[in-house]
C-alpha cells in the first residue's frame, strides 16, 4: 500500500495547523515525522488515522481517493495509530483487549483469538501473558499489545506517536526490531512521530519535517548499520534541528546557583504502595538546588514525589519543609507555604478543562472574595506575552495545543516558590520548548527555589540536575558525581545495575 496526502489543510481558529501538506509514504518504508510542538505533525497524523477530518485535501491509498471518517473506518482502510497513551481498557485482560474492537458478531471465539495473540507475540518477541489484567502491564507491553491488535485487524500502515516515552532501552530495541521487520518483511508503512532525534535517526529510512503547519523538508536518513558512526549521527542531528527550528541550537548548559540552606528533607520516608516494596528514602534538598529523579515509569519515583507533596499516603518516616515538620500536613497547607506540585498530566491534574486562561489566572491570583477582573486580565495578557503562549485570554484551556498548555501551567506557578516538585516538566515538548521551560524554572532557582523533578529523558536529567537519584523497584541509589556521569551510565543504573 502507498499513501499520498494531497493539499491537506486544517485550521483551529486562527491557527493554520496544516497548511497545504503534500506528502507520499511508500510501502516498506519507515518515515519519521518531525517538528517542534505545534508544528502540526500530530494534527496530520490524526487526519490520516481518522481521529479528525481535514478541512480540505485528499487522502489517496494506492492512487485512489479514499473518503473516511473515524478511526474504525481508517483501520478498515488499513491505517492504524498507536496513541502516546495506549487506548486500552484497564480492567480487561490482555486477551480481552486483543479481542475488543475486533471481530464482529456475538461470540468472541476466545481460543482462536488466544492462538492468534500468541502467534503474533512470538513472531515479534513480545512477552504478553493473555490473562494478565492491563493494569499490571508496563507501558511498553501495552504498546506491544496495541501493535499486535492493530496488525490482527489487518492494518498495513502503523502510526506511532512518541512510542519511546517511558520505556527502557531494552524495550525500545524490541520495539524497533519489530517495526523494522514489519517494514522490511511485510512491506508495511511505519510512521514515527517523535522528538527524540536519536530514535528517528536510528530507526527511520526517511524523515519529513513540519514547521508552523508547513512542510519544510524531506530527508533520507543514513543507513542504520555500521556506517552509523557518532560523527554521522551528530551531523544528521544538526541538520534535522536546523530544519525543525530554522536555526541552529547551541548545546545547552545551565547556570549553577549558590546552594543555600536546607528547605526540605525526607527522613526514612516510606510511601504506601500495594505493588512496590518501597524502601525508606532519606533526602535533603537545599535552596537553589535541582534534584533529578531517574527511573523507569512505576519504579517508585512518582510515588515518592507525591508522598513528599502530601498527595499520597505515608507509611512511616518524617518530612520537614521550611523548618517545620509536615508529615501530617495537607497539600494545601504546604501550597500556601510555598511547596508546589506539578503533575505530568496537564488536563487531568493541573489545568481545568472548560476554564479560560483568564479564569486560571484568577484562580491562583489571591484569596480575596472579590475578583479584580481588570488586574487579572492584565496579568493574563502579561503571561501570554512573557510565556509566549499561542492562545487568547478567552480561550478555554483545552483549545490550546499540548505545548502551550504546558507553558500555561508553568506560567501559573508562583513566582517565588520554596520548593517545586515537578513530574516530567517537559514531557512531550520539543527541544526548544523544553529549554525555554527550564530557563523559566531555573530563574526561580536563582531566586532561591529548590526543584525536585523526574524525567524519562536522561539527557535532561544529566543537564539540569545538581544531584540525581535513581529509582529501581522502590529502591533508591544516588548517583555519586553528576558532572562525570554519562547518559550511558545512567541508563544502566535505571536498569537496576547498582
Amino acid at each position: 500500500m502507498d499513501i499520498e496526502l494531497r493539499n491537506i489543510h486544517k485550521r483551529f481558529g486562527p491557527i493554520h495547523a496544516n497548511n497545504d501538506i503534500d506528502v507520499r509514504f511508500s510501502h516498506g518504508r519507515i518515515v519519521g515525522i518531525l517538528g517542534e510542538n505545534g508544528a502540526g505533525k500530530s494534527t496530520l497524523m490524526k487526519i490520516l488515522s481518522g481521529f479528525q477530518p481535514a478541512d480540505q485535501g485528499d487522502i489517496l491509498i494506492d492512487d485512489r481517493i479514499i473518503d473516511y471518517s473515524g478511526p474504525t473506518a481508517a483501520i478498515a482502510n488499513g491505517i492504524g495509530m498507536l496513541q502516546q497513551d495506549p487506548l486500552d481498557v484497564g480492567a480487561f485482560t490482555v486477551l480481552e483487549n486483543f479481542i475488543y474492537g475486533g471481530a464482529e458478531g456475538l461470540s468472541l471465539q476466545r481460543a482462536q483469538a488466544e492462538a492468534r495473540l500468541s502467534e503474533l507475540s512470538a513472531r515479534f518477541g513480545f512477552e504478553l501473558d493473555p490473562h494478565q489484567p492491563i493494569d499490571n502491564l508496563l507501558i511498553a507491553q501495552r504498546q506491544q499489545l496495541e501493535i499486535i491488535r492493530l496488525l490482527a485487524l489487518g492494518v498495513e500502515t502503523l502510526i506511532l506517536d512518541e512510542p519511546t516515552t517511558g520505556i527502557s532501552a531494552e524495550q525500545k530495541d524490541i520495539l524497533f526490531d519489530a517495526l523494522r521487520r514489519l517494514a522490511q518483511d511485510e512491506g508495511m508503512i511505519v510512521l514515527l512521530v517523535s522528538h527524540k532525534l536519536e530514535d528517528v535517526i536510528d530507526l527511520c529510512d526517511e524523515v519529513v519535517v513540519l514547521r508552523a503547519g508547513l512542510m519544510v523538508g524531506e530527508m533520507e536518513m543514513p543507513l542504520s548499520d555500521e556506517h552509523l558512526t557518532s560523527v554521522v549521527i551528530a551531523e544528521t542531528k544538526q541538520r534535522l534541528v536546523t530544519m525543525m527550528f530554522g536555526e541552529e541550537l547551541a548545546a545547552q548548559s545551565r547556570p549553577h546557583y549558590e546552594i543555600g540552606a536546607p528547605v526540605f528533607s525526607a527522613d526514612a520516608l516510606v510511601a504506601q504502595d500495594l505493588r512496590l516494596d518501597m524502601q525508606p528514602i532519606s533526602l535533603t534538598v537545599h535552596a537553589g538546588e535541582v534534584i533529578g529523579l531517574a527511573g523507569l515509569g512505576g519504579s517508585g519515583q512518582e510515588l515518592f514525589m507525591r508522598a513528599c507533596a502530601r498527595l499520597e499516603r505515608i507509611n512511616s518516616g518524617a518530612l520537614r519543609f521550611d523548618g517545620v515538620e509536615i508529615t501530617n500536613a495537607s497539600y494545601r497547607q504546604l501550597f500556601r507555604r510555598g511547596l508546589v506540585f506539578g503533575a505530568a498530566g496537564r488536563l487531568e491534574e493541573g489545568l481545568i478543562a472548560g476554564l479560560t486562561l483568564t479564569e486560571h489566572t484568577a484562580l491562583v491570583a489571591d484569596d480575596k472574595l472579590q475578583i479584580d477582573w481588570k488586574s487579572v486580565g492584565e496579568r493574563t495578557a502579561a503571561r501570554i506575552d512573557h510565556y509566549r503562549i499561542r492562545g487568547r485570554a478567552a480561550d478555554t484551556i483545552e483549545q490550546l495545543s499540548g505545548g502551550n498548555q504546558q507553558r500555561v501551567l508553568i506560567g501559573l506557578l508562583p513566582d517565588d516558590p520554596k520548593l517545586l516538585i515537578l513530574e516530567q516538566p517537559t514531557r512531550g515538548l520539543d527541544v526548544d520548548s523544553a529549554r525555554w521551560i527550564w530557563t523559566q524554572l531555573l530563574e526561580r532557582c536563582g531566586r532561591g527555589a529548590a526543584i525536585i523533578f523526574n524525567s524519562s529523558d536522561l539527557e535532561e536529567l544529566v543537564t539540569f540536575s545538581d544531584r540525581i537519584f535513581v529509582f529501581y523497584a522502590g529502591r533508591v541509589h544516588e548517583v555519586p558525581d553528576v558532572e562525570k556521569t554519562s547518559i550511558d551510565e545512567l541508563g544502566h543504573l535505571i536498569g537496576g545495575e547498582f
Partner: protein, 370 residues
Amino acid sequence: MKNPRAIGIRITFLLLPIAISLAIGAALVIAVGRDPLEVIDALWKGAFKDTRKIGGVVNFWIPLTLVSIGLVVTFRAGLWNIGVEGQMMMGALFASWGAQYIPLGESLAPLLHLLLIALAALGGMFWGAVVGALKIRLGVNEIFGGVALNALVNVISIYLISGPWQPRIGGSAQGTEPFPTPALLPEFSARFPTNIFMIALVIAAFLIVMVMLNATRWGLNLKAVGRNMRSALLLGVATERTSLSAFLVCGALAGIAGSYRVLFTFDNLRPLASGGIGFLGLLVVLLLSIRLLWVPLIAFAFAAILTGSTRLQIALQLDSSLAGVLQGMLVLFVILFHGVQEVFFPGTLADDDTVEDSATSVSSVVKENP
C-alpha cells in the same frame, strides 16, 4: 453564534423536545378518549383562573425556586445533591421545633418568623453538612449519602409526629397539632393567599447567588472544583471547604423551602411535608443545564402545570399525575436532544452549554489530605 444555520439548529433543538413531549402527552390523552385541548384548558384554569389560583402557583414556586437555586450551586461544584429533599425536611423539622417551643407572642411575630426561617436554614445546612462530611471525610458518594439521609430524616419526622410532638387528642401519624398562630407565616390577603416576605427572600437569594457564582472567587472555585477537583487542589483551591460550602448553601436554601411548607402551605408538621419538591428542583436544574438565570421562570412553569393539574381530576376525571408524566417526558427529551446536538452539531451549542454539562457528571473524591 455567528451564522444563521447554527441559530436555526439551536432553535430547532430548543423547540423539538417540547413539541415531542407535548405530542406524546396529547397522544396519551387521546388514547384515554379525551380531547387534548380540554386538558390544556383545565390546566390553564387550574393555575390561572383567579388570583387565589395564582397564589397557589406562587406558593409552589417559592420552595421550588429556593431548592433549584441551591441545586445550581451544588451542581456547579460537580455534586449531585439528591439529599436536597431531606435537607428541606430537616429545615421543616427545625422550624417546627421553633414554632412549638419558642414562646413569642403575636406582637413579636415578625421576629419569630425571622428566627424560624433562620432555624430552618440551620437545619438544612446541618443535613447538607452531613452529606458533605460523609463525602469529603469518608469518601461516601453524595448520591448514596443523600438517599440515606433522606430516608433517615423521614424516619425522624414520623417518630416526632407519632411520639414527642403527638397531638394531645386523637394522636396519629397524620401530623402534629397546628402550630400557634404567631408562628405561621401570614397571607398577603384572602384573595392572594401567599407570603410577600418569602417572595422577597426568593428574589434576594436569586440575586445574591447569581452575583456570588459569577463575580466572586467562591463562584470560580466552585466551578474549578466541579470540573476538575484534582487540578483545582493542585492550583491551590481549598477543595474540601469549597465542596462543603456548596452543600451548606444548598442546604440553607432547601431548609428555608422546607419551613415554607410547614409554616405556610400546611400549618403543622406532616410526614413527607417536603412533597418531592427537592427532586422536582433537580429536574428544573437539569432541564436548564445548570444555568441559574432561567430558574425562576422554569420553576414557575413547573409550579403552574402541577398546580393546574389538580383540576384535571375534578374537571375531566383524569389522574393529576398526567402533569408529572408531561414534565418527566419534557426533561428526558430536553436532555436527550441536548446530547444529540452535542454529538452531531457540536459547533452550535451556546457558549456556556458545554461548560456546564460536564459538571453534571458524578465526581470522584479527591482528598486534600490522603
